[in-house]
Symmetry: C2
Subunit: 344 residues, 2 copies
């Protein structure tokens, strides 16, 4: 079995269609792309690049349905702001303005809504963006689960920046800014009330400072950036491999994973590569700028544990492989189905 | 009792906080404005005007939770596109790009999602906008009611345009482009399975062609535009009266209302002024351009029944009155509480 997409077979929407993995991609390819046909959407980046009045803008949106709404390291509000900031930043844009739309279930404590709003305001302040417009809808009890937030964002793409999987080519290397899997495992641990005596927190963070540092260090040698959220590193690398028509070889020994995350994943039989991150960045760069970019990442508070984790090869186009710690090689599939619903 | 806002007293969010009326405004004033404090949001227009890379942009967002999702004249998808197009257009912006985020309940038929996507695509095509980025989240059965859609939009504000309630002054007149209350009454009729033998349809429409015609005809004499959606004409006029510090006198005899809408409203004891519209426009203009603007509206397919319906007066700042058909005058309150939940 390969990671390649199939036509949608399901007649009803399943949780897996929201996984950020293969089923999500199949839903988008089958339902949304044919309807909204346009070259900007078809590029299927996490942000769209458009020209408005002479300015190059990036636009993005995400809904947040995370459960529970408060967790170690953050909450639904902080996630909503950082997630949208990051989708702009990985497109090379400087995030500027956000909108925030709230769907509230009747009965939600006003105090909780206030806490979420304050958390969003703090996250926006830290990221240097402004929340400038919004909307609130209230639905009757039972018609929503507490609170859903949809943020959209606008950023400015400075002249000359061109990032995206179309620029990835054999010989490039891929870096990550730190340990993977923290967000997903923190939520999972909380939701299932595991008590491992662990202190895991979500990694939610605004990455726009880090992306600017990377672009300063790597210049035109920076090919593409992605924040591996739903579907994890596995989904992002598979999307890159397919979009760029290359093979990617991930070196397991180089991928930072916290011991606690590894332990929970092993216990539950899941791959850290499939787990959502909310403050991690994959960066594909030309080999000649790799060490400069790595140094810039390590000099940034959100990149202290940065590492080169993968190389881009000709090989089998569209495939991702893992070089395991014992020296073998296995395919890293596009995550299929839903392992962690409502992780963000 | 006046229509003035009070501090929020409720400890839990109620349906009325999503009504688009007084309770909605109190929630925003109490929870969101203090947290997201910035002058752009504080203007509380349905769109934010910002400068990006030398271009003046309008940004807006709305969530759509309408029930049922399909109705005479439209569906949740068409509503989501037109609603966001209209929020940009009434700010004097030319709508350009939309994002669309879907929160789907597990089990929704894929075919229904496809119908909604196709309807959005058709509405976007008609309005001349492109849907360029999106997101899909799936929540488990019972955690949402079928499908919620959040659209956000970006438009370009041509140089020299300055619209908003700050420009409304005594002596101005207010026009509407056609009969009010159609959308809300169509949904209500359908939801309650009334059978009046009526053929009421939602008025959902993209108003950007009409707003451009109005701005061409009225130039700088066009003070402000609003699409009276949730909370209806009553909420929009009260917001204008308060924001501009003026009194508004609505002439009941001049307000177009279909006989069927009037009949349903009388039966249910609701005011057509409080009912949501999805293709209506209120325009405040200087008296000297009123006839030119009226003629331009009537020449447009969405303005054939346009009328001058109100005048702006010094009087009692922040108040709206209705001159009734029998010659009396009564206050038109800011709608309080929720009459028609999930109308959009």
């Amino acid at each position: 079995m390969t990671g390649r997409l199939q036509p949608l077979r399901e007649r009803h929407v399943l949780l897996g269609h929201g996984s950020g993995g293969k089923m999500s991609a199949e839903l988008v390819q089958s339902v949304f792309l044919p309807a909204f046909e346009n070259p900007i959407l078809a590029a299927l980046n996490d942000q769209a690049a458009v020209s408005v009045g002479g300015a190059r803008l990036a636009l993005t949106t995400d809904s947040f349905v995370v459960s529970p709404r408060f967790f170690p390291g953050g909450d639904i509000g902080r996630l909503a702001v950082n997630g949208t900031v990051n989708d702009l930043a990985v497109g090379g844009a400087q995030p500027l303005f956000l909108s925030a739309a709230f769907i509230v279930e009747e009965g939600l404590p006003v105090e909780e809504l206030r806490r979420v709003a304050e958390s969003m305001a703090a996250a926006a302040h830290e990221a240097g963006v402004q929340i400038v417009t919004g909307d609130t809808k209230v639905v009757e009890r039972g018609a929503a689960d507490g609170l859903f937030i949809t943020t959209a964002g606008v950023g400015l793409i400075p002249p000359g920046r061109d990032l995206g999987p179309h620029r990835i080519r054999p010989g490039d290397v891929i870096l990550v800014n730190g340990p993977i899997g923290d967000h997903g495992v923190a939520i999972l641990t909380l939701r299932h009330e595991f008590d491992f005596g662990l202190s895991l927190a979500s990694d939610t963070a605004a990455l726009n400072g880090l992306t600017e540092a990377i672009l300063s260090a790597g210049g035109g040698g920076v090919r593409a950036m992605r924040d591996p959220t739903r579907g994890g590193v596995a989904a992002s690398l598979n999307e890159w491999a397919q979009a760029a028509g290359v093979q990617i070889l991930l070196d397991e020994a180089q991928v930072p994973v916290r011991d606690e995350v590894r332990a929970v994943c092993e216990l539950l039989g899941i791959e850290p590569y499939n787990v959502a991150n909310e403050g991690k960045l994959l960066v594909a760069v030309a080999a000649e700028v790799a060490s400069a970019v790595l140094a810039a990442m390590r000099a940034h508070p959100l990149g202290r544990e940065a590492a080169v984790v993968a190389e881009v090869q000709e090989g089998e186009a569209g495939m991702v492989f893992v070089r395991t710690q014992v020296g073998g090689t296995r395919p890293l599939e596009y995550p299929s189905g839903e392992q962690l619903p409502r992780i963000c």
